[in-house]
Subunit: 351 residues, 2 copies
């Protein structure tokens, strides 16, 4: 019998944002890997690619030409997962097991800049500020549509994350319902706020700043950290210091601070394995249902798949799908490794 | 405005097993794919591979030799995610946000047979019966250990599912806590049983058999179907007709019927894209906590990643991680496609 050592012993941690546990196996980081390796694109991309349907001036799948855009550029997704059509629907309450409801929504694509070759960490701060202002505008415009109650802003980066075009871009899926993960988060945030009259993330951030162990980057308005309950090896979350409900609450200073932390975090990511670091990221914030949401606290999740190198990822498979998420390296160790990464992008280091 | 057509219009479906929704986008199956292709192993495997650490007689990572086993073979995982050590732990209730608990557990590997080249669909029925009896024995033996309250039996098949050795095998992770997904399922099963005095899956199965639309295979004791709320393109579930709590409740006839449906289902999977079909599968059944669990109803999930072909999978990424699971093809269509697959394995067809 020995005393519990969170850095060495297998344990479970609790995620209060979605009320779920994660299995942590610190000792397992040492096992050898004989499985699948990911392929990575190593060729440098051109600034403009005449065959890319996202580059300025080129033709998209629907036959339309992109404008010669100069900053970010937004268009409706030609293969949207939802449609704007209003559907007549009478709920059949006899169906205990076959419960289905039509869903209305809009999907948009946000090209980050005209440059085919510039990912977030390689962009200038004012270019990133520009993306943030585009997100603000989309959140407002889409949120103002009567039937849109939620606006999900996200990015799939890298082919390993299902991204089919390397031209840096994100997506926005806006819809009438609260998606499952957002609803779970909202329930937790709300019950915490109702009890404490402060947001859950306000208090969590205080506890994290006091501990310091999982902080990756801090500036005047935002903190990037590895959550205590992170499931992906290098998962992080950017949290605003003020309890902001949504991206449109940012001051000009906060827009700048958010752009800065986005650049810094993604530079550290790229430097970790000297590769264009793949991830899915996305913003969780107040829904656009017209109600007050004092419980909501703006945050952005980063879910990167890589575990050991540019080509070896963590597989969330059998046990993880049937039982619960499992991680090998501890969040504290991951935070330390990320913190130690240089602040200059590896491609421009030594230039 | 048009009337809701579940086969054509975007909609959400409800999963009563875990209380979550899934977004279904039938029209989206048509979008072109320009993204990542998986690599597939096409070489035939030898019956015995001298370099395989799972083949009979060979040496494992820990230096031990496998016996010259003749049916299935079970050993402790050399790189287990949990350990059997008892850990002294005093819960620190001051930690609102840093909630962690040590977890005790055992991981085992189950080699399906001595044959390096025989996956489930290619095995004889009595070989598969043998695996089922091994699962029964492990569920009993592990479940009898005082601190083990849950036994998760699963298989990761194919390198795309993180499987690092092609020698057909599954795993068992037994532990002191109920894993997150199992606990969610148990809560749903229990509240249904308390209200109706029948298991949720008993009644769901009746509704599915009546409808017929999502049934893939039916025999005297088991049904393989695409759940109404399936998230993976060709996800299926095998459900027992009797409301059995656990695998040790099977009669000899049920062992045979389960072996038969396992073989038939995996043959259809292989035939779908003429490839050794990758998936993660696993059994959900009563925990081994010593309590009565009349609410539990034995079932086995299959989560296969492929969408369009042997090399194009569905990516559960940005929207799916941040919002909710999304599928393109409808469960009804998938069931129809699976149902139509021949019952003879493509490799032995025409022989
Ligand atoms: O135990 P294996 O086969 O080495 O590992 C595989 O299955 C495990 C259980 O689902 C996962 O945790 C690993 O990420 C995966 O690579
Ligand atoms: O919309 P894309 O980039 O074509 O597609 C990608 O992102 C979507 C949203 O996360 C996913 O549903 C797809 O599986 C993925 O391939």
């Amino acid at each position: 019998m020995k005393n519990f050592d969170i850095n060495e012993d297998p344990h479970r941690r609790f995620n209060p944002l979605i009320n779920e546990w994660v299995l942590v196996s610190p000792h397992r980081a040492k096992r050898p890997w004989q499985g699948q390796n990911e392929t990575i694109a190593t060729e440098a991309l051109p600034k403009y690619d005449p065959t890319c349907y996202l580059c300025p001036g080129n033709v998209r799948a629907n036959g339309l030409n992109n404008p010669n855009y100069e900053s970010s550029f937004v268009f409706e997704n030609d293969f949207a997962a939802m449609k704007q059509d209003e559907i007549i629907f009478e709920e059949d309450i006899k169906h205990t097991f076959f419960k289905a409801k039509p869903e209305q929504g809009i999907s948009r694509v946000v090209c980050f800049s005209p440059r085919h070759d510039l990912t977030l960490p390689e962009m200038e701060i004012d270019g990133i500020e520009n993306i943030i202002r585009t997100w603000q505008k989309e959140y407002t415009d889409l949120g103002n549509i009567k039937y849109i109650n939620h606006v999900q802003i996200f990015e799939n980066k890298g082919s390993v994350m299902g991204c089919s075009n390397p031209h840096p871009h994100g997506q926005i899926w806006a819809q009438s319902s609260l998606p499952t993960q957002v609803e779970k988060t909202q329930n937790s945030l709300k019950s915490y706020f109702d009890k404490n009259n402060r947001t859950l993330l306000e208090d969590y951030l205080q506890a994290e700043l006091k501990s310091g162990e999982r902080i990756v980057i801090e500036n005047d308005h935002f903190v990037a950290l590895v959550p205590f309950w992170a499931i992906w090896p290098y998962e992080t979350m950017i949290v605003s210091k003020r309890a902001l409900n949504k991206i449109t609450d940012f001051t000009a200073e906060e827009v700048n601070a958010f752009a800065t932390i986005l650049k810094q975090l993604t530079i550290k990511y790229d430097n970790l394995f000297s590769t264009s670091f793949p991830y899915s990221s996305g913003i969780h914030q107040a829904p656009t249902d017209g109600l007050d949401h004092p419980e909501w606290h703006f945050h952005m999740h980063f879910y990167p798949p890589l575990l050991r190198s540019a080509t070896v990822k963590k597989f969330m498979v059998g046990y993880e799908m049937l039982g619960e998420s499992q991680r090998d390296i501890t969040p504290e160790k991951s935070a330390e490794i990320l913190r130690q990464q240089p602040d200059v992008h590896y491609k421009s280091a030594g230039k």
